[in-house]
Assembly symmetry: C2
């Protein structure tokens, strides 16, 4: 992958000079490349993972010797002509100073899309049909309030921007009605304002990135414990706006459970909630901010519940004879109150994929591994093709870990689970934040890959899983395309869990090996729709933690029946009466029509 | 207390004949007396509690020989003239049948007020300034939808009624603008519709009373685990409408944490949420129903997270050398993840009260008790006047109880806590649902008593506690009245807990011993206001779990600053566009003005 595009150069320059400013900001720490997941220079490297290529060849028919599908250079991308609202630009220049109001091509490009597969594929092929007209970098609430007031006055659209890591089309404005679009980048809202160690709370600005937040807390021996896959590149405000869930949610809860109070600036004023752990004071206005996806206002400050960092966190692997047995073990642990801090159960295909992606040979490949497999087959009568890897994390002090592990392992054993020790767990923990890079790596070889994630109750988990795999397979295989589907279950709750499907297909090629990127994107979209239709039909949700954006909006009306949908529209009409905040999101068309009529 | 009033007679008749119907319904199981807390015949009995009278005499100057302040008989109460909206009455008679539409005096009386101290005092003195004009007993959602449609058409106010146990003035309509008021009693929505043991969920109609719900679950080995003080007399729908909290909330969560999905019928249609454990599908409409206090619609069906009933639940008592030491122990247990299922810490006065209310002499009074006290004073250097009783409950299987108890007790010990064994804990568990009856018992002796409850973060707990006690004392003592104030801390969260003040004062008497009930009610109200002003000033909330009603409404605007308040108004204007649902609640005047303007 080329490192000499303009954004890359700026990143290098910025890192060298430490210069701040709107243009260099494109490559500020935690900022992702415009054309892919992760920071410049961060990419998936198959070297040292001996199983990758044979697995990719066997399942998708690709080899490392194929010609690569390299992203077009930034300078070859034609951005849409900017819409310039001169009075607004004058106003924001006065509010922020010219250095914090960027109309540069690189800033417009970096803030154009999120990181959905659709976004990355279009970007890679140079198709950028939307970009904001300017990018603003405020550093105070007062500046934001003044920007919003100017936008209201001059009818300019505002798009709040955290880390830009969303995968549901949350940034793009499908219908701007001729208005100028200003993105507000919240990077400068990254300070820890106060820590109350007695209450275990921390007041933090919402634009802070995951690593900066955890670093500041770690200095006090504390942790938030929120580790979504996007952690290195996503912000606190973004987590709240999308109802984010981290890998340790079974123990720490989702972001909604971590927020004690918040401040959100809306066009009609400030929402500020009190720092109380529970209240019976009417419907909780704070709850409306969770999942608001930038449509109601800009979250600026958050008081979080934080915890003493655990003495120890221990990842372990277990192998179950079937997906059903593993699900039953997870469910039983939750209902018995002995669930680990993380439980993540791979289906057989996802288990094989994990083995193929391991850095070095381990239990599955070594001589010991062979003996172990033989024992599993002969003594335990395991069908290894059906084996399912469960990754569990235990944390706390040694006594707490020992107690919980003993109780959980008793449940695993009753369900046929076999301990694999720490090595598979550590491989997972180490590779956790690498996994999202694989999508770009596969695109290099004309493979489109994505995930579809949902949640349902335990009793519906296996039917949903089977239907989901079948739906993806049917859609992916059309036109004879080679494809792969796997699933894992994670984020356990009393009533159910999340099901997370991963899928990929190798693009069809013409007679001389050429790929039609738009036909393949449509093939991808059909598979994505098949998954969402299946979730909806089976009573599950359009997303467990990836948000709605515009990509999932068609399924929202089906699960927020009127007047549920119109309630959000009513809130929006109060907080954002002129409709300038990230329009075209969350509100199904008929709701808007109803309000208008 | 007289048992021969009309409601009592009807209760007896109803129990004997099993007859159903709108009038007998006034005394259906779980229905409270109109003039006090609890069912007819249930009252506080000081017999067998040797410490009660000496404590009451010492602190409030009352003796059992004083003339009693008996509630007036029902037939002497003049209800306000009913407003009759003939077209509406014709419509509901057609929908429900005449037998399920009551305009009887007893039904109007029983559904007039809730159970706040202000309600009971006014009722006891025959002052009933509000009563609904009819009481309806629907049994299907379709009937409710048709009633609401008729009410919308004919401009009739609807008041949803669960158990009638609210203590914040949630039922009374302060300003009806000449409209007829129809109360919808949800008693007939009391069925368990389905239990999914795999997912640990139960779909239940919202009018079910606590004991009926737990009985149905217990038959399947399950429990909801929600035990508010009102448990025998309150309903599932009422818990949701008020954001209720039960005594085991530290382990089971508050009602919001127990609801997986719900159905609410609003004038503009049905809100129905999906049975998924978490979703990233925009703001959660379900959350708007929590705390809606009947202002948005009628909750009819709820899918609850239920659990396997614990093998064992064990209540224990511990004595701490100070309130501060006990608070520190509670906080440390929560932050270390070893909190019991219940922790309830009494301040010194509340500790003395608990001792005075024990059924028989125990650790505090026996010879062993004397020796123990002497040990505490001499060896442990306890100041017994400062001793604070902590009640803790541990539950689960014996292994889980032993592990948690060992960890919690290590924390208690480090904070100077001393185990008192099971006796104080069992006394608490046994007397738990008796305690609310004491208010009526005290009113019999011209003592006005109430509670004021709030929540705050741990670091603010002691300052709030001290300020709260001082505020109540100052207000209660005016005019030389004898008074009593105590507090307990319960409902622990990561960030803080609830502070629950209990207070009482003996009414002033004129030269010939007469009491002016309205002057004393105003004295009571001043004390209540002093508490709420103090909570507000100290950053706490107007209520942790008792709702807003009209009694706490003046403090709502202060903690839901605009546009937080107007957001709820916007939701109401969408769900209840003609303003018929329990008007005058939740929406601060200025919000309504803003919407109108």
């Amino acid at each position: 992958m080329s490192g000499d595009d303009s954004a890359g150069e700026l990143a290098a320059k910025d890192a060298a000079s430490g210069a701040a400013g709107p243009v260099a900001a494109a490559a500020a720490p935690g900022t992702m490349k415009w054309y892919g997941w992760g920071a410049e220079g961060q990419e998936f490297d198959p070297a040292g993972r001996p199983g990758v290529w044979s697995y990719a060849q066997a399942h998708l028919g690709i080899t490392e010797h194929l010609p690569r599908n390299v992203p077009v250079a930034a300078e070859r991308i034609a951005l849409p002509d900017p819409v310039a609202n001169a009075p607004f630009l004058r106003a924001v220049t006065e509010i922020l100073g010219a250095a914090s109001c960027s109309q540069s091509a690189v800033d417009r490009l970096v803030h154009a899309y999120g990181k959905s597969t659709r976004d990355l594929w279009r970007m890679r092929h140079g198709q950028v049909t939307f970009a904001p007209d300017c990018v603003l970098f405020p550093e105070s609430e007062e500046q934001i309030l003044r920007i919003i007031a100017a936008a209201s006055l001059h009818d300019v659209v505002i798009v709040p921007f955290g880390g830009g890591s969303n995968v549901a089309g949350c940034l793009e404005i499908p219908q701007r009605d001729g208005r100028m679009v200003a993105t507000i980048n919240l990077r400068r809202f990254n300070r820890v304002l106060g820590i109350d160690k007695v209450s275990g709370t921390a007041r933090i600005q919402a634009g802070i990135l995951g690593p900066d937040l955890e670093r500041a807390l770690a200095a006090e021996g504390l942790t938030l414990g929120h580790f979504p896959d996007s952690f290195p590149y996503s912000t606190l405000g973004g987590w709240i706006a999308t109802r984010s869930s981290g890998m340790l949610s079974d123990s720490y809860g989702n972001i909604e459970d971590m927020v004690l109070a918040l401040r959100m600036l809306a066009p009609s004023g400030l929402i500020e909630t009190r720092e109380v752990p529970h209240a019976s004071n009417g419907p909780d206005a704070k709850r409306l901010c969770f999942g608001s996806e930038g449509t109601l206002g800009i979250i600026t400050e958050v008081t979080l519940n934080v915890r003493r960092a655990p003495q120890k966190r221990e990842f372990r692997g277990y192998l179950f004879p079937s997906f059903a047995a593993g699900i039953e073990a997870m469910r039983t642990c939750v209902h018995a109150g002995v669930a680990p801090a993380l439980s993540r159960l791979n289906d057989p295909d996802r288990t094989q994929l994990s083995a193929a992606f391991r850095r070095k040979t381990g239990w599955a490949e070594t001589a010991l591994g062979h003996a172990f497999k033989s024992y599993l087959r002969r003594v335990r009568r395991f069908d290894l093709a059906q084996g399912c890897l469960l990754i569990a994390a235990f944390e706390g002090d040694p006594d707490a870990i020992a107690w919980r592990r003993r109780r959980a392992e008793a449940v695993y054993q009753r369900n046929g689970g076999i301990g694999l020790g720490r090595s598979p767990g550590e491989a997972f923990a180490e590779g956790k934040f690498d996994f999202p890079h694989i999508r770009d790596f596969l695109m290099d070889y004309h493979v489109l890959a994505d995930v579809g994630e949902t949640a349902t109750v335990w009793s519906n988990m296996l039917p949903l899983y089977r239907a989901g795999v079948a739906a993806y397979r049917e859609a992916l295989g059309r036109g004879g395309r080679r494809h792969w589907v796997g699933c894992h279950i994670s984020h356990s709750y009393a009533a159910g869990a999340s099901a997370y499907f991963t899928f990929a297909f190798a693009c069809n090629r013409g007679p001389s090996g050429e790929v039609d990127p738009w036909a393949e994107l449509e093939h991808y979209s059909a598979a994505k729709r098949a998954g969402l239709d299946c979730f909806s039909k089976h009573g599950a949700t359009l997303s467990h933690h990836h948000a709605v954006g515009y990509e999932h909006l068609p399924w929202l009306a089906g699960e927020s029946p009127m007047p549920g949908g119109s309630v959000v529209a009513a809130v929006k009409s109060t907080l954002d009466p002129t409709g300038i905040m990230n329009p075209g999101k969350l509100i199904p068309e008929r709701s808007l029509a109803r309000l208008a009529g």
